[in-house]
Amino acid sequence: MRECLSIHVGQAGIQIGDACWELYCLEHGIQPDGVVLDSQHNQLENAKTEHTNASFDTFFRETRAGKYVPRALFMDLEPTVIDGIRTGQRRSLFHPEQLLSGKEDAASNYARGRYSVGSEVIDLVLERTRKLAEQCGELQGFLIFRSFGGGTGSGFTSLLMERLTGEYSKKTKLEFSVYPAPRVSTAVVEPYNSVLTTHSTTEHADCTFMVDNEAVYDICHHKLGVERPSYANINRLMVQAVSSITASLRFEGPLNVDLIEFQTNLVPYPRIHFPITTFAPIVSADKAYHERFSVSDITTACFESSNQLVKCDPRLGKYMACCLLYRGDVVPREANAAIAAMKARHSVQFVDWCPTGFKVGINNRPPTVMPGGDLAKAHQALCMLSNTTAIMQAWARLDHKFDLMYSKRAFLHWYIREGMEEAEFLEAREDLAALETDYEEAGQSF
């Protein structure tokens, strides 16, 4: 019951998805071919949770052969990345119909992803989605993984979201988006793609968790001792956050039992749905036992910008809503004490109009780490989702870059050529300007 479908779009989405399912399998004791080892299966049953199998069911479907197949769809407009999954370690985990690839990619072009190349593939994708949705007893909603800067991630996703709203209007759609980093760029036209996709997707997504590469690079480099972080290192860290967010959906946990609760708790206005994710403790595996973090330590750490997965300074804004998801050996008494300690901090400022500032929950299962990975296994971990007006800085940065390029109409012809009009750019830009204003208004006091 209450299944969740994950859709991974574009190279970023797929690579994060790969790391994500790897972690989920580790957490649930599923082997790379989808089979659960008997002894581990018993462990699951003996675990302290009552409805284990039901929670398990939200993300995996059990086939008659006893295999567990993820409820996921991977799609890309060109085959290279998906072929990596088709021939990789988890090739027997997924059904071949779940891995979709086109022939010609979007070439970092929103217009291609959305109009020309994307429109040819959308029907197939929707058909597969429908098939997966039919296998669910009661579909809760969708989790969409994508990047803002790429062609498929931006263009195709906006098309997909529109169509999903059309077909599944009542289902929640949560996004995990890779936001373009302030100083580390992968594509020159990222600002265009990001602005265009945000404009088209905002009304269709219910909540968008943003992560940016630069913040994660810095965390990997400084805190985890990785000399030159590769995408593998970065993705592994990001999926820890994803796992914490979905933990209460997969394991018995009292907080945020269904996807709609996320929206209710975190989103004050429909457009203000971009919380930032923070994770603690982030300790290198080599220093696993050096620093022992108590519950109050990790709570304090989550309010520091160095643990954030997006580059933005929360001290420059106000918090509108905050969800603290504790995992592991956390005693309620300690959680209460930690939160009480936060009240004394002046740097944590809330907006005047928000009634319940925090929502706290505990899940007994400690986070699992990839064996041989960079992150140390922690007894207690915390993932904080906070909706803060400071994220406006991220949008402002993006808009500024967009303006610089657009003022000279640079690179515009690539989009016009695929059938877009300049008017759409202006519209998108105005929409983002309005978003910035919305955030500003939300942060103002009475």
Binding site: V331, P332, G357, F358, H379
Partner: protein, 516 residues
């Protein structure tokens, strides 16, 4: 605690208002009546004196303000293990009555807590506890015999850091009751040298991870703790802890490289973390240059960050480890130079052949290939000077070179000995790039042999053009070839006009033959 002061109180670890200390003295301090405890604080600045009062020395401290006299009543001697576990994990009776969810307020904002009571219920089932964290819970003893084993025998992972355990014997008493113990963290406890009692059979039988950070323990003491005295057992001293896979000895400045041999024969040790111990060199005396040592047979991952490594010989020695796959060596004097991190990385890769991951970045085969080739070329001149020879049978390398570059021979076998052409590094001036060529005319016996300097990148077409102007012969009639003095009799035709002299490997001193 009680007022009675027995002598066994000396040496115990206590806690006063969050500060930890060791009891050094118990008795009366005239002129003030009543019993006093003399303690040495962990924090050397916390005390008022160094153990002496009004001239009389009652106890010694290492630091002039390290000691104080305290009334026994004010001192917390700690609680036993089981009590600590119960304190943390068991629901107190009062709370059980309060079935409602607790609300906490922060400023004006109530905080909703959900499900805390069900969690509390679960955690209170001690016998199901597997992972227990008792950090800073003032645990000082094991409690009554068998109590722990009865209440929570399934504990696999216990964190006893920053407690009041004062001796290894006490630790053993606790560990003895936890037969499934896999992970034990004893950091920040000042443990006393063990009295020599051997661990009972079965203690630590499942131990996988042991953490002893900041315990002040010396290396010799660690060995005695881990290995019973040899004369009591017939087998190898390390028999007791055969299962240890990871050993983290970071930030213990008392370890020096010679003492590492004492753990060298742990058969299953896979990860060794030696960050910040001040190590600067390592030596495996049982292995010669280029051979593998029998020490650390299973060691796969070594961490030596934040040390004093400044010699390349360190990495040469690491090559001797048979199973080493991953290394982390950040923030050492040798590797600190920011400008050269790339070169340093390449050199380390080339020096340690079996390394697959360096500083948590995977070494791809292309990277290894590039690094090894660069290494071979970079030290090629030195190799020649040290007696290297193209024909590897004729090699007679100096001891010094072999010690500094033990893998060089292997690299030569793998990629071939470096050729002279590769090793020459002339400045990139144009005149160095010109080839001095002789030009002969085999069919015209009366023409002189010319010598010309031509750039290697000159195309055959242009050479023909030049010659045609010289000889007044049309270009299309000219046929060029060349021969090299090193290979006499062998003539190579230069038939493709569009290719350059370099393409045909025309070298300095070769002879161009022109026919028409």
């Amino acid at each position: 605690m009680s007022d009675t002061l027995t002598l066994d109180v000396i040496g115990r670890r206590v806690e006063v208002n969050g500060e930890h200390a060791t009891v050094r003295f118990a008795g009366v301090v005239p002129p003030v009546a009543g019993p006093w405890l003399g303690v040495e604080w962990d924090n050397p600045e916390r005390g008022k004196h160094d153990g002496s009062h009004e001239g009389t020395v009652y106890f010694k401290c290492r630091h002039p303000t390290g000691g104080s006299f305290i009334r026994p009543k004010k001192v917390n001697f700690g609680i036993d293990f089981l009590t600590a576990v119960k304190n943390r994990y068991v629901l107190e009776d009062e709370l059980q009555e309060d079935g409602k969810e607790q609300t906490v307020t922060i400023g004006n904002k109530p905080v909703e807590t959900i499900g805390f009571d069900s969690i509390m219920k679960q955690q209170s089932q001690l016998s199901k506890l597997q992972e227990v964290s008792l950090r800073n819970c003032a645990v000082s003893c094991a409690g009554e015999k068998g109590g722990v084993a009865e209440a929570c025998p399934n504990i696999r992972n216990v964190d006893l850091s920053k407690n009041l355990l004062s001796s290894w014997d006490e630790v053993m008493r606790i560990a003895d009751q936890l037969r499934h113990l896999e992970v034990l963290n004893l950091s920040e406890n000042k443990l006393k040298f063990p009295s020599g009692s051997a661990p009972l059979t079965g203690t630590f039988s499942a131990l996988k991870v042991l953490v002893l950070n900041r315990t002040g323990i010396t290396w010799a003491e660690v060995i005695v703790c881990l290995c019973p005295p040899a004369h009591q057992m017939q087998v190898m001293p390390t028999d007791v802890l055969q299962t240890i896979k990871l050993l983290d000895l970071s930030s213990n400045q008392l370890i020096d490289e010679n003492q590492l041999f004492l753990i060298a024969h742990l058969p299953r040790l896979e990860q060794l973390i030696l960050s910040d111990i001040g190590i600067s060199s390592i030596h495996f005396p049982d292995a010669g240059i280029g051979c593998k040592t029998s020490m650390f047979p299973s060691l796969q991952y070594l961490v030596v960050n934040d040390n004093q490594i400044s010699q390349w010989s360190f990495f040469n020695e690491l090559d001797k480890l048979p199973s080493l796959r991953a290394l982390s060596c950040l923030r050492n004097p040798l590797t600190k130079d920011d400008k050269d991190t790339q070169t340093t990385r390449q050199l380390i890769i080339a020096k340690i052949g079996q390394l697959k991951t360096l500083n948590k970045c995977e070494i791809l085969p292309e990277e290894r290939w590039g690094a090894e080739l660069d290494y071979r070329r970079a030290f090629g001149n030195e190799w020649k000077k040290a007696g290297g020879h193209q024909d590897l049978d004729k090699n007679r390398l100096s001891e010094e070179f072999l010690a500094a570059h033990p893998r060089y021979q292997f690299l030569c076998l793998k990629y071939g000995a470096p050729e002279d052409g590769e090793l020459k590094r002339q400045p990139l001036m144009l005149k160095n790039q010109l080839l001095t060529l002789k030009i002969k005319y085999p069919h015209q016996l009366d023409q002189k042999v010319l010598e010309k300097q031509l750039p290697g990148s000159m195309t055959i077409q242009k050479v023909k053009g030049l010659l045609s102007r010289l000889l007044k012969v049309p270009v299309s009639d000219l046929l060029l070839s060349y021969e090299s003095p090193e290979k006499p009799g062998r003539e190579i035709e230069l038939e493709n006009d569009l290719k350059s002299l370099q393409f045909y490997s025309v070298e300095n001193g070769d002879c161009l033959l022109v026919r028409w």
